[in-house]
Amino acid sequence: MEPSRSPDLALLERFFERMVLIRAVEESLLDLFAAGAIRGTVHTCLGQEATAVGVVAALDAQRDVVCSNHRGHGHFLAYSEDAEGLIAEVLGLPSGVCGGIGGSQHVHARNFYSNGILGGMVPVAAGMALAEKLRGQQAVVAVFLGDGAFGEGVVYEALNMSSLWSLPIIFCVEHNQYAQSTPWRLEHGGDLSARARPFGIPVSVVDGNDVMEVHAAASAAVDGLRAGRGPHLLFMETYRMGPHSKGDDLRDPAEIAAHRKHEPLVRTRALLDPVHGAKLEQEVRQRVAGIVERLRRRVLVAS
């Protein structure tokens, strides 16, 4: 360990490792899918690693709650770092986090809950925040949703109740600019980031591909929740680098290529020492590759 490293750099390296973990797992799942080893589908979060890592790092893993959605692998890995449990789950193995029953979109471990109905977990998360408020131990709830979810009425019901009852909940919006195949501008009238303001919920708009900025904003918001100042909405600008699900992606390749210059791993690598950064990345990727190889053999044995 170099003695002169600043805390920020050390923190950035930890965040980088977690983001690489997410990237490596998601890429492995897409490879496994292409090879026919996975049934069903996976909604990967390529390009959205910073939102997951930055937000979850601002939480207390022991007492805070994370609710997520169909595109939840990054949130789960940021929360649990359990790559083996997640990959096993998606592969349908009994050693998966939910015994292979929930699969990719329906995951639970400790205080992490995800489900595959768009927007559906948002009122549930509000209820969990109400429970934590009643319990009085200053725990908070973070719920992840995308721009697409702002089409669902139940999201607005939850925003209203969260404000009305001053619930300790942070709405973590990953504005990745696409809802499945549809660009966000074809789905929303008005100002998307301002959606929560009429409910009296403060909104922070941040660069979702800057993990330190996400972390700082999330930390400030969480401090406010613990102090009882009521809900917050963190609006994180990002871009979905990969397909909506499986391998189908009909977007303009030039558009995707342009965004690749600003995706979180590219940006973070540029801030790290190239040799040290590459070493960290290699270690994480090797660990994931080892997990995949081991689990893949179990699937072959089982079938």
Binding site: C98, A109, N115, G120, P123, G127, R135, L164
Partner: protein, 333 residues
């Protein structure tokens, strides 16, 4: 003597007294109003911190309650009219009832959603329905619908305190003011405990021998069937009426025994005809009692129609005592 409504009020209060994690969420539940049908009356005065009046957000409040339930509380959601359950369908179908099995049994969702169903008050098509059958097909959902021959308050208290999964608790509007039936006037009322904890009640209009016909119904049908038993007794027609309070799980053994006692069965419900509860009951009985039924099973329900508001039109759509009586006489031919 207690009314159906008073029994529910007591059951709620008893549940709240027994467990400080019991909460009630609903629209217009605060005193002095105490809920549209007054079931929640008095509760917010005694437990101001645990009775929450909500915005008009049926889906949202069932979601909120599911979150409370997942995190250690025992929430009761009051949905003002059962017709409004359509708004909650996704939260019941894809959230509350799925968390436990999807997550490999790692969580519990002790949620109670209680709501009145039933027509006969001229409220019109969207405030009069009996929609139980739409929910009976949801895996993992317990559906309870007490009649006035049960103790609805005892059952509600059980659902709140002892339920370990989502319970849809169906009340009936016309039963609220009725005195609970405990027997007398030539009728005997007997409670049969069930493994799930929601008893089935037998009502008989005879003292000795076997019944001529078995009538099976639930919820508001007790209001139509009990007077019919009294009038049929005068014709010396022996009727065993069976009122399960648990629609799902169905108390199969009890219903099979009761049907076998007469071999002639009439099943009656207030919901619309077709793809209904009575069809499931009849299929169960056909499977188990094929050679012991002496007649095809008559299944009665309201018409497959909206419920009009005008009195005579409403009467023509909803199941009535006259229709039940005719069916009983038919199976005795």
């Amino acid at each position: 003597m207690s009314t159906y409504l008073a029994s529910l009020q007591t059951g709620l209060a008893d549940a709240f007294a027994a467990d400080d994690h019991a909460y009630l969420l609903g629209e217009d539940v605060l005193d002095p109003y105490g809920g549209a049908f007054k079931v929640s009356k008095g509760l917010s005065t005694r437990y101001p911190d645990r009775v929450m009046t909500t915005p008009i957000s049926e889906a949202g409040i069932v979601g909120v309650a599911s979150g409370l339930a997942l995190r250690g509380y025992r929430p009761v959601v009051e949905i003002m009219f059962g017709d409004f359950l359509g708004l909650c369908m996704d939260q019941l179908l894809n959230h509350a009832t799925k968390f436990r099995p999807m997550y490999n049994d790692q969580v519990r969702v002790p949620l109670v959603v209680r709501t009145p169903m039933g027509g006969g008050r001229g409220y019109g098509a969207t405030h009069s329905q009996s929609l139980e059958k739409l929910f009976l097909g949801i895996p993992g959902l317990t559906v309870v619908a007490p009649s006035h021959v049960h103790e609805p308050g005892t059952q509600l208290k059980r659902a709140i305190l002892d339920g370990d999964g989502p319970v849809l608790f169906i009340e009936n509007k016309l039963l609220y003011p009725m005195e609970l039936a405990t027997g007398g006037g030539g009728l005997s009322v007997r409670r049969e405990p069930e493994p799930g904890g929601y008893p089935t009640v037998f009502v008989e209009n005879f003292q000795a021998g076997s019944p001529d016909v078995t009538v099976i119904g639930y919820g508001g049908m007790s209001r139509l069937v009990l007077p019919l038993l009294e009038s049929l007794a005068r014709e010396e027609i022996k009727v065993l009426a069976v009122f399960p309070s648990s629609l799902k799980p169905l108390p199969a053994a009890t219903l099979v025994d009761a049907a076998a006692r007469s071999g002639r069965v009439v099943v009656v419900e207030e919901g619309t005809s077709g793809f209904d509860w009575g069809t499931s009951v009849a299929t169960l009985l056909y499977d188990q009692l094929w050679k012991r039924l002496s007649r095809p099973i008559r299944r009665l329900a309201s018409a497959d129609s909206i419920i009009p508001t005008a009195r005579h039109l409403e009467d023509s759509v909803l199941i009535s005592t006259a229709v039940i009586e005719q069916a009983v006489l038919d199976v005795l031919q």
